[in-house]
């Protein structure tokens, strides 16, 4: 029984399903490190998922689909930045507003423009002969059988870590999130830094949505994400605001998802409701453990007022 649960295909699914978590949580890491809590991630993901799906459905161009997701994600990021940086609105509730907007809008557009459930071919599975054929421990299947977006997501982890930790811009982001007054005194434009990170986070959330609708599931339906974006926000806490920590969290959650799918596939005698519930329960537990840590950006959720 246990052997059936931990097959190579489960580990392959773990890698694959980590994609949307990684995209969304990395993007959120940037905005939170600069001091902005964007809780609209799930709404942006839904919009990104819909627009990329629709463009691919109409044009069959994966490139245009990804571009559409990046554009709508960036646009919604811009709106969130305006709300939370310029208008200094309460970030928690305004994020819920963005979520509701994305939830309703994506469904509305889907009903109007597509109507019935459709599927697209989407991103094809890549093959890297001879690597993909390695049978040993299922390495070929686990690591070399995925679509392009999976590899892009994993590649973004070290890139994000490098930007945050080794570049001047990363230093500006951290300063804006840690001590905006000092950053301002050093001549850093805190508002501009936050605008950039929130827009970047929005684009990555859009991409996360696209990875669901045109790469992993290849369909769009109402509330496609079912709260995945909120888990991604929690992953940032779990990962201590560090890209590699976020990666570990993403893999943990995608592993739970993969096992959950496998449990229903092999017909284990566990009520499916408990399998579906598991990721959410684990998120709460993870948040409890993450809360004891002090790495949280000091200025997170605090609007910055110049010359205050």
């Amino acid at each position: 029984m246990i052997d059936d649960l931990f097959t190579a295909s489960v580990f392959a699914a773990t890698i694959r399903l980590a994609t949307p978590y990684i995209f969304a949580a990395l993007g959120e890491t940037f905005s939170q490190r600069s001091g902005v809590l964007n809780l609209g991630v799930d709404g942006i993901m839904l919009m990104g998922a819909f627009f990329s799906f629709y463009v691919v459905y109409r044009t069959d161009s994966l490139f245009l689909g990804v571009l559409a997701a990046l554009l709508i994600g960036g646009l919604m990021g811009l709106v969130i930045a305006f709300i939370s940086v310029t208008l200094k609105a309460e970030q928690g509730i305004s994020g819920i507003g963005v979520y509701l907007f994305g939830l309703g809008m994506s469904e509305l557009l889907f009903q109007k423009l597509i109507g019935t459930p459709q599927s697209v071919a989407g991103f094809p599975r890549l093959n890297f002969p001879p690597l993909s054929d390695i049978q040993f421990l299922g390495i070929g299947e686990i690591f070399f059988s995925h679509n392009l977006l999976v590899y892009v997501a994993f590649a973004l982890v070290p890139i994000s870590a490098f930007i945050l930790n080794k570049t001047t811009f990363g230093l500006m982001i951290r300063a804006a999130g840690q001590n905006p007054e000092a950053a301002d005194a050093m001549g850093i434009n805190v508002a501009r830094v936050r605008y950039i990170t929130v827009i970047l986070g929005g684009m990555m959330s859009g991409l996360a949505g696209a990875s669901l609708s045109i790469a992993l599931l290849k369909v769009f339906q109402q509330n496609l994400t079912s709260g995945l974006g909120f888990i991604a926000v929690a992953l940032v806490y779990f990962g201590r605001w560090r890209p590699y920590g976020v990666l570990i969290g993403a893999l943990l959650f995608s592993f739970v998802n993969a096992v959950q799918l496998q449990v229903s596939a092999i017909g284990l005698d566990i009520p499916s409701e408990f399998a579906v519930m598991a990721p959410y329960v684990i998120t709460i537990i993870a948040l409890v453990f993450a809360s004891k840590r002090s790495e949280k950006p000091t200025a997170l959720t605090k609007p910055f007022e110049r010359g205050g």
Partner: protein, 392 residues
């Protein structure tokens, strides 16, 4: 604490100005969306108004939809005034409904005067404990309550699905119907229908309007008194306005955070069981959280914000949003625009109401009673203290 407190009327009106401006702004954005979707905004408004308030039955349906929203919104007022953002109305409604229907079905042989109060109590307690859990996690483990309540919504929905497919499944329906649902409650347990005698006419006599409306309005009034005329409410609001000041004043911050969430969850739990006893007469779902609640847990947040986080404001606000939901169905039929437009509009209203606080702050820098309490993130940046004060 002052025993009574009246606001000058002018500032009361000013309090609602940003709310009304938000509505206008949301209307303009929604009109733009409708134009893009090839629908006439004025036609849409007409269809919605007609569908929501066009005749006796439409008004009754609007009120029916408003009932759970009002309960949740009243609870949200308490939570937000206490500085806690409760997004868990959906899960708390489910918890209340599950506990309440269990009691109702167990007492099926008793009379209504026994069942109804006990079922309402069970619903309140279950919702309160479920909300209180998020409050506990925030108070003692500093867990962001927005995230925890959203996760708890999903957990509650799955728990309901499990119970409805197993222990609580209607024995006569097993394997017959695809919709998981409990047995029907006893007739004695039903909340009575609500109608009025106006001259010779019986208003709402042939509609689904039920006594939940009365319970909801009483609850809103009691909550208003609780928040502004009792020490309990004073403490909750003090914690919401300024946690540090409240702590220095000797108020137990942790306990009041939990209390605010406990009450908010309890009110949402009442919404859940009232929905069962007054309208559906059984607990049923399509499997998603919204399958039972009709998203009242989210709409309650919007209504509470729209009502200025004041239980009195929540009454008209809930009716307004109930009307939007009912009217949207007619709009969908007549104009072919999906009713999910309302979800999007709700999102816009939240964004606009919260954003408008910026202009409120700017206009009345000295006034302290802005609509939103000082939640963690609304804290203004403190001016740098004069140098000498640092050496004292």
């Amino acid at each position: 604490m002052r025993f009574w407190r009246f606001q000058p009327p002018l500032s009361r009106i000013l309090d609602f100005t940003p709310t009304l401006l938000s509505l206008v702004a949301a209307f303009f954005v929604a009109s733009f969306l409708l134009l893009v979707l090839d629908a006439n905004p004025l036609e849409a408004v007409r269809a919605m108004g007609d569908g929501a308030f066009g005749n006796e039955n439409a008004i009754a349906e609007t009120l029916v939809k408003a009932i759970p929203i009002l309960f949740v919104a009243t609870g949200i007022c308490v939570a937000f005034r206490g500085g806690v953002i409760n997004i868990g109305g959906e899960g708390q409604m489910i918890a209340g409904a599950v506990a309440g229907i269990t009691v109702t079905l167990a007492l099926a042989q008793s009379s209504g005067i026994v069942i109804i109060p006990l079922a309402l109590l069970a619903g309140f307690i279950a919702g309160a404990l479920y909300g209180g859990l998020a409050g506990f996690l925030k108070a003692y483990f500093n867990v962001n309550e927005i995230l925890s309540t959203i996760m708890l919504n999903q957990v509650a929905a799955q728990m309901m699905n499990f119970l409805l497919n197993g222990p609580l499944l209607d024995p006569t329906e097993a394997g017959v119907n695809a919709i998981p649902k409990t047995a029907r409650i006893a007739e004695a347990a039903e909340l009575p229908r609500l109608f009025f005698h106006v001259g010779t006419i019986e208003l709402f006599a042939r509609t689904r309007l039920h006594y939940g409306l009365v319970i909801g309005i009483v609850l809103a009034i009691v909550t208003y008194i609780l928040l502004w005329y009792t020490t309990i409410g004073y403490r909750i609001r003090a914690v919401g306005q300024n946690e540090h000041a409240a702590r220095y004043a000797g108020i137990n911050v942790k306990r009041n955070i939990m209390l605010a969430m406990f009450l908010a969850g309890g009110f949402a739990g009442l919404a859940g069981i009232v929905q069962v006893l007054g309208l559906q007469y059984r607990l049923q779902t399509d499997g998603s959280p919204a399958g039972f609640t009709g998203s009242a847990g989210f709409n309650g947040i919007v209504a509470a914000l729209f009502g200025g986080l004041n239980p009195f404001g929540a009454i008209p606000a809930s009716i307004f949003f109930g009307g939007l939901l009912v009217g949207a169905q007619k709009m969908q039929r007549e104009l072919g625009v999906s009713a999910s437009l309302i979800t999007a509009i709700n999102g816009l209203i939240v964004i606009f109401v919260v954003s408008s606080q910026f202009f409120v702050r700017r206009r009345t820098l000295q006034r302290t009673n802005s609509i939103l309490p000082q939640v963690e993130s609304v804290q203004t940046v403190h001016p740098i203290p004069p140098l000498e004060s640092q050496h004292r």
